[in-house]
Symmetry: C2
């Protein structure tokens, strides 16, 4: 069976987004700084059809790993974005017509909606049965040889971490302090007990830590 | 006037010590791992009269800065340690007869006690008037040309950070997750708003971030 992986950028004080998140400002006050390390890389920019970026750096290599070997993604409504209920001309995600996933993406929501097939092989499926059901669907879609990626928002990622369902956690710790906002870390004693540090890589103004699950 | 500096090691999820702190286990479960980066350095080991250690590394240079230019230290009872009330043969700190400070140290406590003069110029003063009074005494002792260092435990350091009284914060972010314990970071919106990142240094399995106060 494939693994469940999460690759998440957090502030030094454990937030995945700053205070005041909204549709206009999905990362909240100061939250964009968490992703500066990725925005600078060729790998991230290529995935999002942008030119330029640094190639061959530690950060670029780490960014390039993100979706390699991944056959399905699970994300929450805060990562997919948009307003609910969906309405007549519903939100189609932040990523344009050809999202970077190129595989099925299971979006947790309380509002049912037909699947949304995009260009390039990404299909968004809207799951109203909760995170366990979404993960089961993603595992099924990924098959035995590919991994499932768990994305944000913070509540979704924290739920899977707290449930011990993430096998590999790649944490990208940015040096910023957000003070408040969408909390990923802290108050997760089972996470601390059940994982070991597998590697630590120093990027440019960011620390990449890989945790691997050790306990059942 | 000198600056107020704090140099603190924290876990990736914002704790300064793990759960279950006690006199036998002052850093709590897993807490020792926060300081491994320092234990490995020549600078830290020399300060504590220990042989060996890596010299000239990023971590060694950062460890060496800790008490340079500092004329007085403030710390809480969790860093000084021991049991209160003090009793007939009171606790004299973790550091032996010749502590690494070599200047006056103001210990916050609710239990009065005469000053304790150690070898090498360190005198512990026990302050029962609260953190503002302790800082005023430390500033006075340090004089206009030297800095004051604010130490732990987490409650003490968090108090000074929340009050905006720290001018320079050196945070050493270790890749471990403690999950629970003595929380330093998170829930400090004023800290996030009032500081800028001055430098980020990648050590061996640790990220050193210096924040400098911009507001107030």
């Amino acid at each position: 069976m494939g693994r469940v992986r999460a690759s998440l950028s957090v502030s030094a004080d454990g937030y995945m987004a700053g205070p005041g998140q909204s549709v206009e400002d999905p990362l909240g006050v100061g939250g964009r700084a968490l992703h500066e390390w990725a925005f600078r890389t060729r790998a991230f920019r290529g995935l999002h059809d942008l030119d330029g970026g640094d190639a061959g750096t530690v950060d670029d290599r780490v960014a390039a790993e993100h979706l390699v070997g991944v056959g399905a993604t699970v994300m929450g409504r805060h990562m997919f974005g948009g307003e609910v209920p969906w309405g007549d001309d519903p939100w189609r995600g932040w990523w344009g017509d050809d999202p970077p996933y190129h595989h099925p993406v299971y979006v947790l929501t309380r509002h049912a909606r037909p699947p949304l097939a995009m260009r390039g092989g990404t299909t968004f499926h809207f799951v109203t049965d909760g995170p366990e059901a979404a993960l089961a669907m993603a595992r099924e879609a990924a098959g035995p040889d590919r991994d499932v990626s768990v994305g944000g928002g913070a509540r979704t990622a924290r739920w899977y971490l707290a449930a011990g369902l993430v096998d590999v956690l790649d944490l990208h710790v940015a040096p910023v302090l957000l003070g408040d906002g969408a909390r990923l870390l802290g108050g997760l004693p089972d996470l601390a007990a059940g994982y070991r540090v597998d590697r630590v890589l120093g990027g440019e103004g960011v620390m990449h830590v890989r945790y691997v699950r050790t306990a059942g």
